[in-house]
C-alpha cells in the first residue's frame, strides 16, 4: 500500500484493534504499527498442554511471570532493553507490557463489565474525581455493539442493580451453570444481603456466526487457538485484514508523532526493535493506542518548538491522572468443600459468577467513597505446581495419608479478589525520566505513585468483608490476612488496569482529547486506548476501551469522509 496512508494506528490491542477494524471497514487505508513481534494464536496457543510438559511444571518465573503457558510474549513486568523507572520517594509501581501483535488482549482476564451511569459523573455525585464529557447513555449503544461483536457471556434477567447496567436483550450469551464452589460462596454473600450475579466474560458460549464456541476447557490466559474468547488477534485483526485496507508492521516501537509546518500530524517515527533502524511513515491522521503508558511516552517524546514539553502537553496534562484498580486477595480453605464427588469443573475458565459492588448508598457510613467488585476463583481445576497448598499448616503426612489428604482437600480453596475504584490524584502520574533511556536512546517513563486514603480504606474493607464471608462459610484463611489497607493494597500498576495519562474532557485546559479521542492541540491526532479514561471505576477497563475506541473511530471516519482532517 502506498503512502500516505489514511490513518496510522500505533498499537494493536483493544483500542488499536478496534479502531483498525472500524476504519478499514469504513474504506480507509490503515497502517498498524505494533512494537512487538507478529503473533499467531492459531499456531502458538498451548491449548491442552498439561503442566508436566512445561519447564518447572509451568511455574511462574521472571521470564514468564504469569506461568510458562501465559500468552504474553517478550514481556511481563520487565521488557528486555526497555526499562522504566519509579521516582525516588514514590510508592511501588509496576508496569506490565507484552511485545506481541494484539498486546494484552491475548492473555487478559476476559472480564467485561460495563461502566455505569454514576461512573461517568463521579464529581457531580460526590465532588471527588472528575466528570467525563459523555454520559452512560452516550456510550450505551457502543457497549451494545461491542458486546455483540466480541461475544460476551453473562445474560440474565434484568436486576436493576445500582450502577451495574443490565445489557439489553440480545447483547449477551448465557453463562454455563455455576460451579459447585460458586453456588457455595454465593449463599454466603446472599446471607449478608449481597447479590451475586453472572459474570460478564468475553467468551463465546453459544453458537455465533463466524466464531467458534467455547470448548469449556483450557485456560483463557493462554490465548485461544479457536477464537472462542476475545483477542484482538482473533476477532478484530483478521476481518480488518480481509478488507485489503490494512498493513501491519511489527517490531515497530513508535517514539514520536511527526508534525508538518502547519502543526498537523503528518505521520510517526519508530525504531525497528530487531534491526535498530529508524523509520517513518506518513498519513492523513494518526491514532495512538499503544496503552496508557506508551501513548503518554510517545506524546512526551514528541517535542517541537510549538510543543516544547511534549505534544498536546501545553497545559501539562499528558501523563497526569494515571490510575489503576485497587487489588487485594485473601485465600481460604473450606472444610465444607472437602471430599466433594469428582466433577468436571473447567467451565469457561473465567468466573461464572461475581459480586458487583453493593454499597452505593452506604459510603458515608463506610468511610470510603468508592466501591469494589469481587472476583472469586476456586474449584477442581487442573492441578498446578502449587497442588500442596491445600494441605493444612500442620500436615506432615506421607504415603497413603498424604494421597488421601490431597484428594479430600483438593478443590476446597477459594480465592477472594477485590477490584476497586481509584480516585485520580495529583501524586500519580508519569513523565520522562531525565536520564534513563532505552536501548535505542529514547527517554523512558518515570512513574510516581501514591494511593489515597479512599483506596487504602477500601482495601481494608475488602479484607473485612472477605473474612466475614469466609467465617459464615466455615472456612479458614491461609496465613494471616493483613487488616491494614495501607499494607494489604496492591502495588500501583499491579492490576494491569493502568488508565488515564491523556484523558478526555470538555475543554483544552483540563484534558488532552475531546470525547471522541481527538486531541485539542492537533486535530488529526487521536488517542483510542485506556489513556483517555477520566475515571477508573471498579469495572475492568477493556470493554470500555473497546466501546470508546469504536465510537471514536466512527467519528474519525466521518471526519475523514467530510475532508475535515
Amino acid at each position: 500500500m502506498a503512502e500516505p496512508y489514511d490513518v496510522i494506528i500505533v498499537g494493536s490491542g483493544a483500542g488499536g484493534g478496534m479502531s483498525a477494524y472500524h476504519l478499514t471497514k469504513s474504506g480507509l487505508k490503515v497502517l498498524m504499527l505494533e512494537a512487538g513481534r507478529d503473533y499467531d494464536p492459531v499456531a502458538e496457543t498451548p491449548m491442552w498442554n498439561i503442566n508436566a510438559e512445561a519447564p518447572l511444571r509451568g511455574a511462574s518465573t521472571p521470564d514468564k511471570p504469569f506461568g510458562f503457558y501465559d500468552a504474553t510474549v517478550d514481556g511481563g513486568w520487565e521488557v528486555p532493553n526497555e526499562p522504566y523507572t519509579v521516582a525516588e520517594g514514590s510508592e511501588a509501581f509496576t508496569w506490565w507490557r507484552p511485545r506481541m501483535l494484539g498486546g494484552r488482549t491475548n492473555h487478559w482476564g476476559r472480564i467485561s463489565l460495563r461502566f455505569g451511569e454514576l461512573d461517568f459523573k463521579p464529581r457531580s455525585r460526590d465532588g471527588l474525581g472528575y466528570d467525563w464529557p459523555l454520559t452512560y447513555a452516550d456510550l450505551a449503544p457502543w457497549y451494545d455493539r461491542t458486546e455483540k461483536l466480541i461475544g460476551v457471556s453473562g445474560a440474565a434477567p434484568p436486576r436493576g442493580l445500582t450502577n451495574t447496567p443490565d445489557s439489553p436483550p440480545g447483547c449477551l450469551m448465557q453463562n454455563p451453570p455455576a460451579r459447585a464452589f460458586e453456588t457455595f460462596y454465593a449463599r454466603g454473600f446472599e446471607a449478608m444481603g449481597i447479590p451475586v450475579v453472572p459474570m460478564h466474560a468475553a467468551v463465546v458460549t453459544q453458537p455465533m456466526e463466524g466464531r467458534n464456541q467455547c470448548v469449556f476447557s483450557t485456560p483463557c490466559g493462554r490465548g485461544c487457538a479457536i477464537g472462542a474468547n476475545f483477542q484482538s488477534t482473533t476477532v478484530l485483526i483478521p476481518p480488518a485484514r480481509a478488507t485489503g485496507n490494512l498493513t501491519i508492521t511489527c517490531n515497530a516501537l513508535v517514539y514520536q508523532v511527526d508534525l508538518d509546518g502547519a502543526g498537523k500530524a503528518k505521520g510517526v517515527t519508530w525504531v525497528d526493535r530487531v534491526t535498530g533502524q529508524h523509520r517513518s511513515a506518513t498519513a492523513q491522521s494518526v491514532v495512538l493506542a499503544a496503552g496508557s503508558g506508551e501513548t503518554a511516552r510517545i506524546l512526551l517524546n514528541s517535542k517541537s518548538p510549538k510543543f516544547p514539553d511534549g505534544l498536546c502537553n501545553n497545559h501539562g496534562m499528558v501523563g497526569r491522572y494515571l490510575m489503576d484498580s485497587v487489588g487485594l486477595n485473601v485465600t481460604a480453605q473450606f472444610p465444607a468443600l472437602e471430599g466433594l464427588p469428582p466433577t468436571n469443573d473447567d467451565g469457561m475458565s473465567v468466573e461464572h459468577l461475581y459480586v458487583p459492588w453493593w454499597g452505593y448508598d452506604k459510603h458515608k457510613a463506610l468511610g470510603f467513597p468508592r466501591g469494589y467488585h469481587i472476583e472469586l476463583g476456586g474449584g477442581r481445576g487442573m492441578p498446578s505446581m502449587g497442588a500442596a497448598r491445600v494441605l493444612a499448616d500442620d500436615d506432615m503426612s506421607v504415603g497413603d495419608d498424604l494421597r488421601a489428604n490431597l484428594r479430600r482437600r483438593y478443590g476446597s480453596l477459594i480465592s477472594f479478589n477485590g477490584r476497586g475504584e481509584m480516585i485520580p490524584n495529583d501524586d500519580c502520574y508519569c513523565e520522562l525520566d531525565p536520564k534513563v533511556k532505552d536501548k535505542w536512546g529514547i527517554p523512558v517513563l518515570r512513574f510516581h505513585w501514591k494511593w489515597g486514603e479512599s483506596e487504602t480504606r477500601q482495601a481494608a474493607h475488602m479484607t473485612t468483608t472477605f473474612l466475614e464471608v469466609i467465617d459464615r462459610l466455615g472456612g479458614k484463611p491461609l496465613g494471616t490476612p493483613e487488616r491494614d489497607g495501607r499494607k494489604s493494597i496492591s502495588k500501583g500498576g499491579e492490576m494491569i488496569h493502568e488508565v488515564g495519562t491523556a484523558r478526555m474532557g470538555a475543554s483544552e485546559t483540563d484534558s488532552v482529547v475531546n470525547e471522541y479521542g481527538q486531541s485539542w492541540a492537533v486535530p488529526n491526532l487521536f488517542v483510542m486506548d485506556g489513556a483517555v479514561l477520566v475515571s477508573s471505576p471498579d469495572k475492568n477497563p477493556t470493554l470500555s476501551i473497546i466501546a470508546l475506541a469504536w465510537r471514536s473511530a466512527d467519528n474519525l471516519a466521518k471526519l475523514a469522509k467530510e475532508g475535515a482532517l
Binding site: P55, T183, F216, L340, P383, M385, A387, L402
Partner: protein, 205 residues
C-alpha cells in the same frame, strides 16, 4: 523400606541427555564451572521470554545434582509418594529428575530452594547405604522438630506433590476431570450439587 531400593534411573530421553552433556561440555570448555555454584560463576540461562509454548523444549539449564544426590532424592520421593494401588510411585514418574531440574534452574525461587534441598539431602546421603539407618531417618523426618529439617521436608514434599499431581497419573489420583473439549458445560454432577447443598444446610445457609 528395609530392602535396598533399586538405583534410580533418570527418566530423561537420550536426546536430552546428550544435549545436557553438550551444554556441560561446552560450558566447561569455556572455563565455566557448572557443577557447583561458586561465586562469580556465570549464571545459567533460563528459557527466555519467548519460548515455544506448544512444544516446550526441555529446560535448557545444566543439571546440578550429583548421582548420589539424585539417588537420595529418589529415596525421599518414594518415601513421600510410594506406589499405591494403581497409582505409580513418584520415581516412576521421573519426579527426582524434576527435583534436579528445579534446584538447578537459574530463577530466584529455585535459587532459594537449591541450598534448602541440597543441604537437606546431606544427612540422608550419610545413612542411605544402611537399610536400618535409612529407614529410621526417613521415619523420623516428618516428626522433626528443628526448623531447618521441617522447612526442608515441607519444601521437598511441596515439590514432589507439585511434580506428581501435574501429570496425567496425578490427575487420576487426585480426581481431576477435565482438559477435554466439550460441546457444552452441563455444570457440576448431580452428586456434587447435592453434596454442596448438604454442606450448606449444615452451615445454616
Amino acid at each position: 523400606m528395609s530392602d535396598d531400593p533399586k538405583p534410580y534411573v533418570p527418566k530423561i530421553d537420550r536426546r536430552t541427555a546428550i544435549a545436557w552433556i553438550g551444554a556441560v561440555g561446552a560450558a566447561t570448555g569455556a572455563g565455566v564451572v557448572v557443577s557447583g555454584c561458586a561465586p562469580g560463576e556465570k549464571p545459567a540461562k533460563g528459557y527466555g521470554t519467548d519460548p515455544n509454548l506448544v512444544k516446550p523444549a526441555k529446560a535448557p539449564w545444566p543439571r546440578l545434582l550429583s548421582k548420589t544426590e539424585l539417588q537420595a532424592a529418589a529415596i525421599l520421593c518414594d518415601f513421600i509418594l510410594p506406589a499405591s494401588g494403581t497409582a505409580p510411585a513418584a520415581t516412576a514418574l521421573g519426579v527426582p529428575d524434576f527435583i534436579d531440574e528445579w534446584v538447578s534452574a537459574p530463577y530466584p525461587d529455585q535459587l532459594k530452594d537449591r541450598p534448602i534441598i541440597r543441604d537437606g539431602l546431606k544427612p540422608l546421603i550419610e545413612v542411605m547405604s544402611d537399610a536400618g539407618q535409612r529407614t529410621a531417618w526417613l521415619a523420623a523426618l516428618p516428626k522433626a522438630t528443628d526448623e531447618a529439617t521441617k522447612a526442608f521436608f515441607r519444601r521437598f514434599r511441596y515439590l514432589v506433590v507439585g511434580a506428581y499431581y501435574t501429570t496425567q497419573e496425578g490427575f487420576r489420583d487426585i480426581g481431576y476431570i477435565g482438559n477435554e473439549s466439550r460441546a457444552a458445560d452441563p455444570g457440576p454432577s448431580a452428586e456434587a450439587k447435592a453434596a454442596v447443598e448438604q454442606a450448606l444446610v449444615k452451615l445454616g445457609l
